[in-house]
Symmetry: C2
Subunit: 352 residues, 2 copies
């Protein structure tokens, strides 16, 4: 039976990318060797890495004063690395607390400077995006999580502030156009919208670097990675290769504008059914706050939860069990998720 | 034409592993999904990670008081992470300086405590392993690079000291049996003898942890990774999968004893020809210091260098150009390198 992969991450990749990714393991482009066993200094891999960077630049329209890095360590590594590189001990950064990942970013940053939580939706189990909060002047940066993977909320608009934004875009990178000029640093673990697990995209405005007093170990210093074009040490070759293939696919689909339309259509299909169907309910009350990537919902009657999960699984819908901190269901419908798969889930809901 | 992959890393993997690794990308074990798109919390991946750990434990005979971790960030990440986790500012660690990688480890460690270079072979461009040096008492640990990938030297014996050894085994992990009880910490980037780039094996004696005063970011704290069984955050799923397949292969070959015999036979074949053939010369004078993994040699007459490289490449021998800091040639003949491929190179030398 065909599986429809609604997993929150590592997550679905385009079927065509999976095929190319498997072929590259057997033999990369007729070179007589696997992508798994070529040197990262080989002409072949240097071309792959360069294409990955230029696709990221093209898709997100990243100007030359920003560096584009492919690092390892996940988005969790960036929670500390971003603060370590940007924030001096006596400086303040503002953080918007919109979920588990925001809180972890806050926790890690506290070791490096003063952290001001600008607003939090923790009081309602993170089921909304705070508004109407003040952002004081003089912050070094303002950190946001653009999409809250666990709680199914998303920042449709980004805060307006004089400080550069630092954003964890792990679960909605490349899913929509963004106002890049507002951001000083963007990071994203690949394993939702960019590729397989094992690589993290970092986009950083270069003039923000080199202003902290502390010692930075080489591997944790963005400047060292910039100087070495992400090849200070052996990069995660295969995750970068498959991310490059996935970005090629995004571009072939029509880029971020096309992704945006595609993602809006899929989300509408699913949210409309949740609204319409009395047996289901969205966990995020305000439609404006609902994520286009992770759709979180519950059964109105908890007795339906188990049988609905079974019905969805019987239809091949995989990975829709909600995160334990929310319960119910979470359908992750990233870029690579086809509309047809969302329709399969909606049909299960209709027929349930 | 069949390629013989003598690259120093990322490096050759067994042909059977490449096949399985490609199949897993298309579909993992009949589950209807690719290994690239399953959750790291799925039953399937948890089983893979558990098998990777238990294979590492079995092959190296690692007892329960050591943790086995699969981290990201490469061996270069471990240069700082190991010192950060083990060394207080007022404590001293001894380092053996046997090459580029040792020097980098020394540089990174200096930020965290007192570093004593016990001996160095830098005076002879690292073409030997120092002996006869003193190791003072009271060191927190003694750091060694078990195999010097660039310079073609290897520690056949490990230093005797009361302090636990910390070893970078990136380029000879799983290639021979080791006296595990001497080590407090072992780390190895996967991309030579363990699998593809993107994951780093860390083996650490647990009682050595939790004794430093400094703040450790979560991602850089071994204890956090131990508590979370290497799943504190999304691990590099595919690199771990392929490493597990490679360890299965090592086990199927007969484990480390068999690898040792196999590696000795291959190295003997190549070193014997270098010795015998007046047109070639090993860069490491003392046979005892020569690496079984990276065989470095030059042409006696430099005018032969270019034509020999061309002849080797014409025979399908890839990646034998020496590192710029040594020149000449480097044939990396890791576990997965078949004797037949070494024979091809030796035949080129004979017929040159
Ligand atoms: C928004 C967000 N940030 C951070 C993370 C953690 O990423 P990683 O596992 O790559 O460290 C996740 C993972 O699910 C996420 O969704
Ligand atoms: C012995 C040794 N240590 C460390 C490294 C650096 O490893 P990585 O690129 O994984 O950081 C290498 C890479 O060639 C190596 O051979
Ligand atoms: Mg969240
Ligand atoms: Mg409803
Ligand atoms: Mg070396
Ligand atoms: Mg000779």
């Amino acid at each position: 039976m065909k599986k429809h992969n609604f997993s929150a991450g590592p997550a679905i990749l385009p079927a065509s990318v999976i095929k190319e990714a498997a072929a590259g393991v057997l033999e990369l482009d007729g070179i007589g060797m696997s992508i798994l066993e070529i040197s990262h200094r080989s002409a072949e891999f240097i071309a792959i890495a360069a294409e990955a960077e230029s696709l990221a630049r093209e898709l997100l329209q990243i100007p030359a004063d920003y560096a584009v890095l492919f690092l390892s360590g996940g988005a969790s590594g960036q929670f500390s690395m971003s603060a370590m590189n940007l924030l001096n001990e006596n400086q303040s950064a503002g953080y918007l607390d919109t979920g588990t990942w925001s809180s972890k970013a806050i926790k890690e940053a506290k070791a490096f400077g003063k952290v001001q939580v600008l607003a939090s939706s923790k009081d309602q189990n993170y089921n909304y995006i705070p508004t109407g909060y003040d952002i004081p002047a003089g912050l070094r940066y303002v950190h946001v999580t653009s999409n809250n993977t666990i709680f199914g909320t998303q920042l449709r608009e980004f805060p307006t502030t004089d400080a550069p934004l630092v954003a964890d875009m792990s679960s909605d990178i490349f899913s929509r156009r963004i106002p890049l000029e507002k951001f000083g640093l963007i990071y994203a673990g690949a394993q939702k919208n960019m590729g397989p697990a094992g690589v993290t995209l970092v986009i950083v405005r270069k003039d923000l670097l080199g202003q902290v007093d502390r010692h930075l170990p080489s591997m944790l210093d963005y400047r060292i990675h910039i100087e070495n074009e992400s090849m200070f040490n052996t990069p995660p070759v295969y995750p970068i290769y498959v991310s490059m293939l996935t970005m090629r696919w995004v571009k072939a689909q029509g880029g971020l504008e096309a992704m945006e339309r595609h993602n809006e259509a899929k989300a509408k299909l699913l949210y409309d059914e949740i609204e319409r169907n009395p047996r289901f309910q969205c966990t995020v009350p305000n439609p404006q706050d609902r994520s286009l990537m992770n759709v979180t919902f519950v059964c109105t009657d908890d007795a339906d939860t188990k049988p609905f999960l079974a019905a969805a699984e019987a239809a091949g819908c995989d990975g829709i069990k909600g995160h334990r901190s929310v319960g119910g269901f979470r359908a992750s419908i990233y870029n690579s998720m086809p509309l047809e798969s969302v329709q399969v889930l909606v049909d299960v809901m209709k027929n349930f």
